[in-house]
Amino acid sequence: MISVKNIQVIFGKGTPLQKQALNGVDLTIEQGSFVTVIGSNGAGKSTLLGVLAGDVLPSAGQVTIGTTDVTRKGTAARAGLVARVFQDPLTGSCGALSIEENLALAAKRGEARGLTAALGPKRREHFRERIAELNLGLEKRMGDRMDLLSGGQRQAVSLVMATLAGSEVLLLDEHTAALDPGMAEFVMNLTQKIVSERKLTTMMVTHSMRQALDYGHRTIMLHGGEIVLDVAGDSRKELQVEDLIAMFRRIRGQTLDDDALLIG
């Protein structure tokens, strides 16, 4: 479960560039629920994700993940609760390490790391099985450096990495945005499979309204650091991309000039 209460985030406080990135956001995501988040550039999507991941510490409010209050915990300190896939495939994995070393690193997420060999025979076999499930042929390349893989392959491996260690929540930060359409679909299907199999509490930020409506149980839209739309259940099923755009116009009373919202 994720619970954020009255979150305030202000960037550049006291400077001419001061910006209220999140303004009193309240949000509760139930255990096992899959929420998609949309909004234009600067709406606060990435900031909200950063608040959950620990990259951004709010100036006011409270963040709870599972039963733990993580408001003041940094990224590393809460990593045991949070699994994450980044937008940039280069950020989520370590290019200089091999595929299996990346997996070994992720398998110990949030745990103490001792002097045991990171790649014992048992762990190697386990990693190979998990990678073989992707059907990308990567199980034959476990010792290859991660930076030899394509962006899509890296995102697929990142998804496996996110599930090797237990976690309360899975955060997806526009994780298909940098991929070609075919690979993006592959990664989304994989995401869907992993999330439903493991019943993960998931929040996915996306630029694509199509994705936002096709996947998950609930969609929220951010604008100007506030939640302006929150739909789930039947009313969400009937919702079309066109409705979302119309709704966006109505709520904000302004014309839509962000092409990115229309893509997909």
């Binding site: 940094g74 045991g80 290019g95 200089a96 110990k108 001792g114 060999a117 990171a118």
Partner: protein
């Protein structure tokens, strides 16, 4: 080059192999350009020399030297992590401060260890000539160091350190406290360098406050020569490359200085060093075929 000069070069190369391993940890694993080594090398020499003269066991003296080196590394890490000073500058600050510290430790610019018991004393007089004993003894220590560092870097803890240097953001997302890794890595790196200094003092019979000048260049030269020769083929090969690079570097220097034809003299050492390092840096680009 005489046999004695050759084995002397190998011996010095093995002593500086500890520096190369330390530099590898800082520069390559942690991606932390650390010049502290110019201070922690003579620190190790100073601490071990003073302790041996005071009657302590030479092994213990080397151990204390490592602790002192680790402390120096922690100071640099703290300046960088806690006080946000640029890593290169933080290490330069520690380095120049250590010059004074080393003078204080020794009480004078150099300390002689003539006739004092060292780690090597029990091995002289076992039938092998002295100039074979020294490289053999240090070679064994180097092999132990390689194995320890290799096993560490391939453990869970070592993987966290490598990720810290390669992709800090990813490391944090995996729960790695990257600041702690910098403290730990700098401590291990400078402990190895100080051990090199301690062995230098024990094999050469003196500690000198100026012996640290250019240590970083020598260490870096060894790392780069090793990479040039062996390429990127995993941690163990890279570590062996550091040692090989360190030895070859010393032999090359010895060759350059002992070839009468070149007309070089001992005072040209620093120029030859710079030329060799430049050569080692340029060579991989030339091999890749071109104007890169």
């Amino acid at each position: 080059m005489s046999v004695i000069a050759f084995w002397g070069a190998v011996e010095l190369g093995l002593v500086y192999a500890f520096v190369a391993l330390g530099v590898f940890l800082a520069f390559r694993v942690l991606d932390f350009p650390d010049l502290t080594v110019d201070g922690s090398f003579p620190l190790g020499a100073a601490v071990t020399a003073v302790l041996i003269i005071a009657g302590f066991n030479p092994w213990l003296a080397a151990g204390v030297a490592m602790v002192a080196g680790a402390a120096a590394g922690i100071v640099t890490a703290m300046l960088n992590v806690r006080f946000k000073i640029l890593n290169l500058l933080a290490s330069i600050l520690t380095m120049i401060a250590l010059f004074s510290v080393n003078l204080r430790v020794m009480g004078k610019p150099n300390v002689a260890l003539i006739n004092a018991d060292t780690m090597l004393s029990p091995f002289y007089g076992l039938g092998l000539r002295d100039f074979y004993v020294r490289p053999l003894f240090i070679g064994v220590l180097v092999i132990i160091a390689i194995i320890v560092v290799w096993r560490f870097l391939e453990s869970d803890a070592g993987l966290a350190m490598r990720a810290t240097g390669a992709n800090a953001r990813m490391a944090r997302a995996q729960g790695v406290d990257t600041n702690r890794q910098i403290y730990l890595g700098m401590a291990i790196s400078n402990a190895l360098v100080a051990l090199g200094g301690a062995l230098f003092a024990q094999t050469n019979g003196f500690a000198d406050v100026t012996s640290g000048v250019g240590t970083i260049v020598v260490g870096l030269a060894a790392v780069i020569i090793g990479e040039t020769l062996l390429g990127a083929r995993g941690i163990l090969i890279a570590l062996i490359g550091c040692v090989l690079g360190s030895i070859l570097y010393r032999i090359a220097i010895q060759l350059a200085l002992s070839t009468d034809m070149l007309g070089l003299q001992a005072s040209d050492l620093n120029f030859v060093t710079a030329a060799l390092v430049t050569f080692a840096l340029v060579l991989p680009r030339l091999r890749r075929g071109g104007a890169a």
